[in-house]
Amino acid sequence: MIKVENLTKRYAGQPAIQDLNFEVGKGEIMGFLGPNGAGKTTTMRILASFMPPTSGRATVAGFDVFAQSLQARAHLGYMPENVPLYSDMRVTEYLDYRAALKGVPHRRVAERVGDVKELCGLKEVENKLIAALSKGYRQRVGLADALLHEPDLLILDEPTIGLDPNQIRQVRDLIKNLGKQHTILLSTHILPEVEMTCSRVIIIHKGRIEACDTPENLLGKIRQAGGVLLEAKVGADNGAEELKKISGVRDVIVDSDGDWKIFSLRVESGADVREEIFRLATTRQWRVRELTQRRATLEDVFVEITHSDSI
């Protein structure tokens, strides 16, 4: 559905994205992750034909986004970041206008507008001015707009930003449902969302793709590099000093809760140090109340990849 080859975009000589290469297959939900300023919006704008790349090529549904931009645009539904809308129009009026603009046949406009209003829960605000809508509803109008012409592909730039937890859940469910018929590329900061909805994830950092895999595989790569949490009364011992001597322990951070000391251990990947810690605790007669291996989340993957240079 999407094919990107050596895509580069420079703003005034400063590269925003460099040599991106990826593909999104039909029916996939691809998550696009990265810190602010990593180049997510730039990439999505290029894919939506809003601006041309400096070099490289991108095709959407087989159409080049630059040379055949009109056909490419006809095949995709794009929801921009922050969802700019004409605030002087009413919801139904706006959707009618967008449907005509996107070439939905005359006799199908009413049906399509009705369908997307139903799907996105806009029935109760259909006659309201867009200016009077809350952030959540504006977001839904943007999503409804993207769906109007039944595109094969949806590109959603931060669809859940600025929503409350309930609304996020609703939008997430909506996206999951849409994923049954559409190919979706969505960008987000909210990592649990990606774990729950996406079939594959691209992590982009400083304009380059750092990882591209399924969420499970990404977690698999980092799971062993998680951490161990130990809560114990160590008496006269320092605690951290002894723990650091265990092979496989990279770093120990100490916190305290009254008499209890809380040790967060970062361990090398592949190492399981819990048994060693237990042995240490029994020989030194520490009283232990918790010893757990912390499972890595996508957040750890994200932090590890995007902060690799600061560690």
């Binding site: 809003f50 645009r73 921009p80 700019p84 004409y86 002087d88 005509a100």
Partner: protein
């Protein structure tokens, strides 16, 4: 064609959704009304060599209001879309750049034409009340309205170009106001600088909106200004289209 019509109808509607349309309408009708009243009362007191209709379209009042309305009509066209970011959903829909540019231009033109409908009734009312025609021939009406249309197209296209250059409406208004005022005064140079050669004077005469309006409102249809204004409008719209496209590369 349907997409162009959809865009155009949104443009026209958006004028009437915003308070600007009503402010411009009221401001313009107020000045046009006062202008008409003054011309009629002036003629009531002395013998003159021209008709009410001619006087109306050639007064200082008329030109003052005329130069001011174009920046007000055109400043928001592109600048507002850039500022609010609505250009992004607009240009990621399958529409061509020229469809957007032309729909904005013709939307402004339709609003401008609507602006000129009420003053047309002044002449009808005058004829009804005074029992004599406001102009010496039907050609004088069509001539002055044709000139209004031509001047309107040219000045609106300048406004479009100014608006596509910036995302600040005020800056767009200042650019188009300056450009239109300078062009307008170019036609007055021949009255101000008496020592310019006759060739230069003739040349400047071609730019003179006042002179064109003078001849057209007498019912004399000269083809030179028609060609001049139409071709300049096309040039301005082509530049607008070019600037609009180049924005993508500068983003």
């Amino acid at each position: 064609m349907r997409k162009f019509y959809t865009l155009l109808s949104r443009e026209v509607r958006s004028y009437f959704h915003s308070p600007i349309a009503y402010v411009v309408l009221i401001f313009f009708l107020l000045i046009a009304g006062v202008d008409f009243y003054f011309q009629v009362s002036f003629m009531n007191q002395r013998q003159v060599q021209y008709t009410v209709q001619e006087a109306f379209f050639n007064s200082v009042f008329f030109w003052f209001a005329f130069v001011l309305i174009f920046p007000l009509i055109t400043m928001r066209l592109f600048a507002e879309e850039f500022k609010l970011g609505t250009i992004e959903p607009l240009m990621t829909a399958p529409v061509r750049d020229w469809q957007v540019v032309l729909s904005k231009f013709f939307g402004a033109l339709i609003f401008y034409i609507i602006l000129w409908i009420p003053p047309a009734f002044y002449f009808v009312i005058f004829q009804y009340v005074a029992g004599q025609p406001a102009a010496h021939s039907a050609g004088a009406y069509s001539g002055s309205y044709l000139m209004l249309l031509l001047l309107g197209m040219f000045y609106l296209s300048i406004g479009c170009l100014a608006s596509v250059l910036t995302k600040n409406q005020i800056i767009a208004a200042i650019i188009s106001f300056c450009a239109i005022t300078l062009l307008f005064f170019l036609g007055l140079v021949q009255f101000i600088l008496l020592d310019v050669s006759s060739a230069a004077r003739d040349l400047l005469g071609y730019f003179s909106a006042i002179e064109h309006m003078g001849t057209f409102s007498r019912g004399v249809i000269d083809t030179r200004p028609i060609v001049f204004y139409l071709s300049m409008t096309v040039v301005m719209l082509a530049l607008t289209h070019q600037a609009f496209q180049s924005r993508k590369w500068r983003l």
